[in-house]
């Protein structure tokens, strides 16, 4: 963790004007990730995790207001002009979305999209770019890559499209790959294959990666560090093994408990989190999770806990009554 950060997100907030008032999608988030590291950002729909990734990529909706700094490889992306940003994205900073059709052009062949990216960013000639494209498709596990170059996205299955999107994202050897729910739309066996593929390519390229997901199961064995988000804020952050062993934030615990366990007997009631996330257009008094929290006390409803260091290194959480303490007093 002492290595210089490749990406550091410093006090980033994102505000979106809506007909119902200002929506604070991301609230004062600080994060850092070193070269070759994997960070998992976990949270439910509407927690701000996707908006945070858009803020890092400088791909926010036009009306959104960003504050704070996003430093990537020595540059502040919030101050970079449109042209240098465009060059950076795709080359050093790549992204894979949940729906591969977000990044694939439906009217262009797989080949022209890959070749174009390589020519644009790396200034390859057509023959070199074609050869490299075939290599990339083979690397992401696409059978008969030469033939695939001539196909259009609609001729491929969802899993194959996601492989193509990953091939394009990896094509210019990025330093950081942001994978935003890369497997949520895919079936279980395909999900495992895609996550394996990302892990393998990451090791091979010594690339840093941010995996954004709602599933703690996805980050458990595949990340170095995890940040849990709730209502726009990071509420707990720790190296992955530490987080799972010593989680402090009741929300993290509840999120983990709500996952059906494969070794539990059928018809075991799931410890569901009651209620639902708060309306982000309304101001929140106190801890945003307090209305759903089984450990909440009166102070939780009045004061907002800050993300603070635990008594041991590398672990931060935002809670007045962390789980361990609650267990002792209970």
């Amino acid at each position: 963790m002492t290595a210089p950060a490749l990406l550091s997100v410093e006090g980033v907030s994102v505000d979106l004007p809506t007909p119902r008032g200002n929506l604070r999608a991301v609230d004062q988030v600080d994060l850092r990730i070193g070269p070759g590291q994997t960070l998992g950002i976990v949270g439910e729909s509407g927690c701000g995790k996707t908006m945070l990734s858009r803020a890092i990529l400088q791909l926010l909706p036009k009306k959104a207001k960003l504050s704070g700094r996003v430093r990537f490889d020595g540059q502040d992306l919030t101050r970079l002009g449109a042209e240098p940003l465009r060059k950076l994205r795709g080359r050093e900073l790549a992204v894979v979305f949940q729906d591969p059709m977000t990044s694939l052009n439906p009217v262009l062949t797989i080949g022209s999209q890959l070749i174009e990216t390589l020519q644009e960013h790396l200034e390859f000639d057509t023959a070199t770019a074609t050869r490299r494209s075939v290599e990339l498709l083979a690397a992401v596990g696409i059978p008969a890559p030469e033939q695939r170059l001539k196909q259009y996205p609609h001729q491929l299955s969802g899993g194959m499209r996601q492989r193509v999107a990953i091939a394009i994202a990896l094509s210019c050897e990025p330093k950081l790959l942001i994978a935003d729910e890369p497997t949520t739309a895919l079936d279980a066996t395909i999900q495992a294959q895609i996550l394996d593929l990302l892990a393998r390519e990451q090791r091979r390229r010594h690339m840093a990666m941010i995996i954004i997901t709602h599933d703690l199961g996805v980050v458990a064995g595949r990340t170095d560090e995890v940040a849990v988000m709730y209502a726009g804020r990071v509420v707990e952050r720790a190296p992955t093994p530490l987080l799972f062993k010593k989680m402090q934030m009741p929300y993290t615990e509840a999120l983990l408990a709500a996952i059906p366990k494969i070794d539990a007997a059928p018809h075991t009631p799931l410890p569901a989190i009651s209620g639902r996330p708060p309306d982000p257009t309304r101001p929140i008094h106190g801890c945003a999770f307090s209305p759903r929290c089984r450990y909440a006390m009166s102070d939780c409803h009045q004061q907002k806990p800050v993300l603070a260091n635990a008594a041991w290194p590398d672990h931060q959480y935002a809670c007045f009554h962390p789980i361990n303490a609650a267990a002792v007093s209970a």
Partner: protein
Amino acid sequence: MMHDTMKSALREPLLKVENLVVEYSVGGKTVHAVSGVSLEVALGETLGLVGESGCGKSTLGRAVLQLRRPASGRVVFDGHDLVAMHGDTLRQMRRRVQLIFQDPIASLNPRRRIGDIVAEPLVIAGVKARAERERRVREVLSAVGLDPDLVMARLPNEFSGGQCQRISIARALILNPEFIICDEPVSALDVSIRAQILNLLEEMKSRYGLTLLFIAHDLAVVKAVSDRVAVMYLGRLCEVGPSEQLFARPAHPYTALLIEAIPHPDPDVRPSESVPIGEPPSPISPPSGCRFRTRCPRADQRCADEVPELVAIAPGQLVACHHPLAE
């Protein structure tokens, strides 16, 4: 447990699907969506039906209700073959079997009030008395954990996905059905909301004495609610068995693959990288013999030549494989 199994074996199942074949054409080509599936669901039981997209599990669910007419086979519900039924008689039977869909928001008419959406099946069933309808609507809305006074006059867009799924469940319950087909009821929902809806389905099942066919692609979700699980691959059943037994000792290599692919929320469990590359082939031209053979590490010539039949491998457990995993 043995006692229960014997009891249900003696009793006629509430739903019996026999050798069901469903095919449809897309662009002049025949899609072999369901190719000879037989299964039974006992009264009061939950049968989980699991498989990946395109395996035909949703088509099977719709074919049970005759929303898609099968090419051949029988669907016997409480002794009546639905395939042979038409018009009013079929409509009468359909009241006893309801369907809950994956996308809770898209399955509700956005321009109608919640009270009217939930009451609609009653209107169609000919319940004329408005007071009676309102009484029933209030009853089912309360049962699914919604406050009738707060929700009845509102429109679907004012509700979250989880709340819309509660409304769909209320609508499915209003005619007092005996059987509910749940088609991926929680796959569009967040983890915390998913647990709420799964618990609600279990609660409704015991409260109203329901029998469920629970269709999903997520094995862990299926196991959480099912007494028995049927695993489907490319239009055919691979394996059927009691949930715990199937997970503890899968006999079909595909079942084992699905179990292995479940991500463990535990950093000490390293994800295995043994999941083979490959995807299900197209149901337009399924492989000969065993349909899983193109992805199966155990496949040999026999798998290409002969279609494996579902045969008993352990009490209550059936497998369609020439080389089942045995330990």
